[in-house]
Amino acid sequence: MFNNLDELKTYSDELRNKKESCDCVEVLVGMSSCGIAAGAKEVMKALQEIIEQRGISGCVKVKQTGCVGMCYNEPTMEIKRGDESILLGPVNVEDAENVVDMHIGNELKISKYVIGNKFKTCLD
């Protein structure tokens, strides 16, 4: 419960400043209707399973997000490591293992899945 603007601002700052205990990787899977129609739900499940198998689930978080707008590359995902991020797509179920090894296990910046960087927003 927020009782005033200051409480909200303080909480917002805390969230932004929270440093992860390890070099945590965030995987954001595009899960709007469009992504789901292209198979994003299955891809997300496959990613989670493979990450579990590799024993790296402690430092990799798989999350859903909205649509980044690149319909022509669905299912899309973003891999975030600290301030760095890359957009990947199309990543289908059969590509999940590749993506985990190339972009999560290793820190490859270039592969056939990379489709660009994050878009510039008014909050940058």
Binding site: L5, G66, L123
Partner: protein, 492 residues
Amino acid sequence: MIEQYRIVLRNCGVIDPDSLDDYIKQYGYQALGKTLAEMTPADVVAEIEGAGLRGRGGGGFPTGFKWKIAAQQKSDTKFVVCNADEGDPGAFMDRSVIEGDPHSIIEAMAIAGYAIGASMGYVYVRAEYPLAIERLNRAIDKAKEKGLLGDNILGSDFSFDLEIKFGAGAFVCGEETSLIHSIEGYRGEPTTKPPFPAVEGLFGKPTIVNNVETFANVPAIILKGKDWFRSIGTESSPGTKVFALAGKINNTGLIEVPMGTTINQIIFEIGGGIPNGKKAKAIQTGGPSGGCIPVKYFDTAIDYESLKALESMMGSGGMIVLDEDTCIVDTAKFYLDFTVDESCGKCTPCRIGNKRLLELLEKVTNGTADENTLNDIQSLSQVIKDTSLCGLGQTSPNPVLSTLKFFPEEYKEHIVDKKCSAFVCKELYQYVINDSCVGCTLCSKKCPVSCIEGEVKGVHIIVQDDCIKCGKCYEVCKFNSVDLVPGGLSNV
């Protein structure tokens, strides 16, 4: 090289739409907090008016002015309505925003409520968007739990509640008076304006109706100020616009660019150009109320005025790319067919006029039009525009009028030469087998209506009277012996 700049889509694909923490991390609800703690309602209206934000649903009406009128009304009850009844063919930006960033709409509607003195809001979402509804519902619940919606928001004496109403799938309900009647429980039919909804709207009370994309701009304007917003885009149309690229384009999808970006930049720099090495012919903007802009105007910087000057309109931001294989008369017919389906039937010009207009277009595409048909199309279109009750009817002939203005030769070709160069209008072309046929009989075996005759090793013939023009023979022939030629009117 033009780059995207995202205000409306700032959180789409960045945050988890089901996480309030994610939204708060992105400065979420701080704009609402700022308005409640530091601004008077009049300040908020002045900020939005000063920013020059215009309605992103299509008309481009100044949002701040709408809010000002509603704020000036003396009434114990007022309403804020979010129009998420997105219906233009090829447009899906509202769905993406609600599915990807539902809290931004909640926050913006509460800000609007504070500005005009409303304590209740409705989001009118089409029922075909179940995921959007689900995520919006969850977001509303979470915001209420944390005191960001409901009674005494952030400890202030301002209270605001939200309810979701489902549209039943009528295109006309995107028109604000129809939308209001639909929420009230009546048939989704328009009524005349004035009185404008800002004066007398939902349940007879002052109501502002704004589009999803318009609302999504509001928190950013409050946080960063009107001058910042004015520094983006053009003088008369500040800010950015989201476009849904569809049709014959490589990179289909949602993009957000500053107003004033040219069509060329959108299609070729961001959209990646036309597939299969084809040439662009035109773009269709504004949906069934808009028009087709030919390739020679692709260096136009897009804003509300420039598109209007080209007989089209901004609309909600659907941008459908047509390549050289597109028949422009057929395109106009497609949009008119949509309008005929979606006309609510209340006023005669729209109900019957559009039906008759569609019949005239059908005469053009099936080769039965004569020298008077174009005049009839022109004059009927003008009558429909002048006399229809609501925006749907008043703009419905636009796809016809704009294509007639920019592609008159294509209409004439259909009418005078009885020819469709794009080979789209079925009555105006036919398949014939030329002398290079070796008589392999493959086409006659594949023909679904068995209308290809001939001996083995002899030249085959298509019996035109029975041909349904499915193109199967053309596809399967290994010797290029099937030609697509103009003509064939004899079978009509």
